[in-house]
């Protein structure tokens, strides 16, 4: 760790838990929001999280299919989210060794860039398909999502943390 804090040894991740949290994020995105300006894209955030922490366990194809479901559920151009999410999954997985090296807030700085790039891709696709410019406020969603990064990290790593049993015989 660059900031010299001790790092805990984690239990191996449960793939079922990964699937469950991704599904919950999809559920969050499909909640009936009336006003969605500045609403963080929870699914993109969770995909980023799992792609940085477990790049072997989540494939680009999974992100692609989740994006397709988002498109169909929202009446967007079919493939718009799928395209952006697959690029997001790829870049998060490629950058995972770099990102995890940093402390939590610097990780969030990386995440905000990744999410902004995703939004820019979606913007390019949407504008090319004849959509309306959603206004600059739309990009605030990425910043808010990045602010949630420490919370998400804490919550999604909870099951992997070892139970803190103080055992005098085994110091590990």
């Amino acid at each position: 760790m660059i900031d010299g804090r001790p790092q805990r040894i984690m239990l191996p991740v449960n793939v079922g838990f990964m699937a469950l949290t991704t599904l919950l994020a999809l559920l969050f995105n499909l909640l009936p929001w009336r006003d969605m300006s500045g609403l963080p894209d929870m699914l993109a955030l969770v995909i980023t999280f799992w792609c940085t922490h477990q790049p072997r366990k989540i494939s680009i194809g999974a992100a692609w299919i989740l994006g397709l479901v988002m498109d169909a559920a929202n009446g967007a151009l079919l493939g718009q989210h799928a395209f952006a999410y697959s690029v997001l999954a790829f870049s998060a997985a490629q950058l995972s060794r770099r990102i995890l090296w940093f402390g939590i807030w610097r990780q969030a700085l990386h995440v905000v860039l990744l999410l902004l790039a995703t939004q820019l891709l979606m913007l390019a696709v949407g504008m090319a398909a004849g959509g309306t410019f959603p206004g600059y406020g739309w990009f605030a969603a990425s910043g808010i999502a990045a602010l949630l990064w420490p919370v998400i990290t804490f919550m999604l790593l909870l099951p992997q943390r070892r139970p803190e049993v103080v055992d005098v015989d085994r110091p590990l």
Binding site: L27, P32, I60, D71, N74, A76, L78, G79, F90, T132
Partner: protein, 302 residues
């Protein structure tokens, strides 16, 4: 001699290759969807797949509103009841005259041999949520192909036009709002009967009255209602009110902004108005050649 890596090191194609594969697949789908409209079965299938998740997502919201309804105070209900009774009395008087007028109108129409107006089928629907796509203005309602909703049907609330059904799934349908970019409705100015077409401006709050000459007789505050000449919208439903007029001699058309009369933010209940049964079928439409967003709705304007 060539060495293959042992199979437990083999993790399939390289990440970049996979990315390229999925990006190309996504681009292919987008082109298929936007230009050729071939992706509709896939979209319907995916929407059906997402439906249970959406229902689960809606459940807590509906539960919360149910709880609020349950605990709403008796005083409020009594007051509401009184107001409704008063309104009903007022409307009943109008209804009496309306029936007499309708009978008279039917009689006169028979006299001059005009086509009788048939009542249209009306379906009550509920707005489930707003589409998350930031590039278009859409809402999803809870009635679909199972309830005989068809693409193109107008959607209104108690004040005026909200939008038009653009895509129908078995259990849900998608309504494009009148504020969506390039969504067009034929309208008529109430004050002088002038006909025009009003377009969504795309910013989500205003409409634009397109292609009106700089000297057209339009004033601030003019009410616009549907003209009914398209055979889709029934005539006389309020659409918008003129809010701002810019007449610039440098341009041949005036720039006229309007504020929509109704909006999805007000109520969750809307009405989907059925087709006029006596209209002849629409002529065959050629594949639209314009940009996709316009092409999808081109049929209405042609």
């Amino acid at each position: 001699m060539e060495h293959q890596p042992p199979p437990f090191f083999n993790r399939g194609p390289a990440p970049l290759v996979r990315l390229m594969f999925f990006v190309v697949l996504a681009l292919f789908l987008m082109v298929l969807d936007a230009r050729f409209h071939y992706a509709e079965p896939l979209r319907a299938g995916l929407a059906l797949l997402a439906y249970p998740i959406q229902r689960v997502a809606l459940a807590p919201v509906q539960l919360a509103s149910g709880v609020v309804d349950f605990f709403s105070s008796q005083v409020r209900l009594q007051r509401e009841n009184e107001a409704l009774r008063e309104k009903q009395l007022r409307l009943a008087r109008d209804l009496l005259t309306f029936e007499a007028l309708a009978a008279e109108n039917a009689h006169l129409r028979q006299l001059i041999g005009a086509r009788e107006r048939t009542p249209r089928k009306v379906t009550l629907a509920e707005i489930l949520y707003a589409g998350r796509d930031p590039f278009s203005r859409k809402v999803i309602i809870d009635k679909g192909g199972r309830d005989e909703i068809e693409p193109g049907l107008p959607v209104v609330d108690d004040i005026g036009v909200i939008g038009q059904v653009t895509r129908v799934y078995p259990l849900l349908s998608e309504v494009t709002l009148i504020t969506d970019k390039d969504h067009a409705i034929p309208v008529q100015v109430v004050r002088n009967g002038l006909r025009a077409v009003v377009y969504g401006a795309g910013d989500g709050t205003t409409l634009e009255l397109g292609f009106m000459a700089t000297n057209a007789d339009i004033l601030n505050g003019d009410e616009l209602v549907t003209s009914g000449i398209d055979g889709i919208y029934p005539a006389g439903i309020p659409v918008a009110r003129v809010a701002r007029i810019e007449r610039d001699a440098a341009y041949s058309f005036a720039k006229i902004s309007c504020v929509p009369a109704a909006g999805p933010g007000r109520h969750t209940q809307v009405l989907v108005i059925g087709r006029d049964a006596k209209l002849p079928p629409a002529p065959e439409v050629r594949q639209a050649r314009r940009t996709p967003a316009k092409g999808r709705r081109g049929r209405r304007r042609e």
